[in-house]
């Protein structure tokens, strides 16, 4: 492996004089999970959205290893290219499942959509793959024709994951994937994410304010405050031996159970 999967350089986003995020650079290699932590207003979601192409940054480049054309700056891609990328090689798991699902379409249709969008034309095959993926995210086959409105929050989130991963993306963005879920449901979801990341060799960028989530899921960590990265490194090292004042504050503020 001679080059990273993702090479982010100098991303910045301003809202007038206010800094959304600034000077963010990092690289991500296949199979790596990067956590971005910070409190509300730290700029972590802004950063994620800038990288994922949902927000247009004011500066910076996002190089991605497109299998066919090598490293390309996704910010310079044409819209059709970028939309195709986000349907195939990239995935985005939203905090609220309703932002990432079609609520009026059945679970099977939701999972099958990405397949149909890239040309799948055999109903039986599409349905079989949908059933397979629902199984992998522990949703019973009997629910395949139900709408997500009939699912619990945790199930909707797992459906969102299935919908995103069915085309075998190499990079997954997650914005507070366990936010708003019950603790036991969170545990299940984290376990699922870990095994999928390992089985599929995924790379992931996970934004969260929950340090416990990041310790379990992320190999590397970036800590953000006021739009800037104040510390970065190996997850366990940053959490066990924090160097920056803010990181030390963050770590010491976590309640012990």
């Amino acid at each position: 492996m001679t080059q990273p999967l993702l090479d982010v350089r100098g991303i910045a986003k301003f809202y007038g004089a206010r800094i959304g995020c600034a000077d963010v650079s990092f690289d991500l290699w296949p199979g790596e999970v990067m956590g971005i932590v910070g409190e509300s207003g730290s700029g972590k979601s802004t950063l994620l959205n800038c990288i994922a192409g949902h927000l247009e940054p004011d500066a910076g480049e996002v190089f991605f290893d497109t299998r066919v054309d090598g490293m390309k700056d996704t910010l310079l891609m044409s819209e059709p290219e970028r939309r195709m990328l986000s349907r195939t090689d990239w995935a985005f798991v939203h905090q609220h499942a309703r932002d990432g699902l079609r609520m009026s379409v059945s679970a099977g249709g939701n999972v099958g959509e990405r397949l149909m969008a890239v040309g799948a034309r055999h109903y039986g095959d599409i349905r079989a793959r949908a059933i397979d993926w629902l199984g992998r995210v522990e949703i019973s086959e009997s629910r395949i024709d139900d709408r997500p409105t009939a699912f619990s929050g945790g199930m909707q989130q797992r459906l969102q994951i299935a919908r995103n991963l069915v085309t075998g993306p190499r990079l997954v963005f997650m914005d507070e994937p366990t936010g708003g879920l019950d603790v036991s449901v969170q545990a299940r979801l984290l376990d699922l994410l870990r095994s999928l990341v390992r089985e599929m060799g995924l790379s992931a960028i996970i934004v969260t304010h929950d340090l416990a989530v990041v310790r379990l899921l992320a190999d590397r960590l970036m800590v953000m405050k006021d739009g800037r990265v104040v510390e970065a490194g190996l997850t366990d090292q940053v959490l066990d031996d924090p160097q920056h004042a803010y990181t030390q504050l963050l770590v010491s503020s976590v309640l012990q159970v």
Partner: protein
Amino acid sequence: MSEYNFAYLDEQTKRMIRRSILKGLAIPGYQVPFASREMPMPYGWGTGGVQVSAATLTPDDTLKVIDQGADDTTNAISIRKFFQKTAGVNVTEKTAEASLIQTRHRIPEVTLREDQILVYQVPIPEPLRFLEPSEVETRKMHALEEYGLMHVKLYEDISKHGAIATSYAYPVRVEGRYVMDPSPIPKFDNPKMEMAAVQLFGAGREQRIYALPPYTEVISLDFEDYPFEASKADHACDLCGAENSYLDEVIIDDQGGRIFVCSDTDFCTSRQDQTKEEAA
């Protein structure tokens, strides 16, 4: 007759519509926006079709107007009389004798020729509208050829009903590029859309024109394991005996008695006349 410009619309409007038509013919299946005019009939009564016909008619044309296949419904008669008054063109009920046919929701059973034009009345031109309400988004989907959602709809049909339930306005793919709504014709008529005549589609309220030049490839969307079927009632016409025409079901008495008759009245009548001649 002298109070109206030929075919009611002013020449500039006709030119604008013709430009849209030419663009539509150049990009088969693509919805061209046009400046739809106020017509002397409410929206939902064929204003789009009428505007396209008005811009296309010449004094030498012979016009036929059908509504659900019939020449003698109120709408068909009103529109035919409208053009008789404002354009003074010859009119006919015989498909083979018409040079321009305006239709609501059916394609004539008789095969059309290269010297004929078929004008469709279209209510909702956007085939993706039911699943994606945003116009901005559907325009992008057409531009970027993102039609996965269309198959999601068909998938949902099969999962709910065991088959693709759409029976009219069945979506098609034109020349392998644009997905198009053929207007609410029964899916039985879809295969006919690969024809020798020019096909023009007008949606007045939605302000869109689209078109198919002769011999354009039009393929109804389906799945490999659920192929498209141009189905009709399993019956022959009770008046003319035709086995392969689209049928209307007509209730004839209060006991629920019913007959099936060809929806295309000219087709049916011609066959009946022929039978009488042969018998005579």
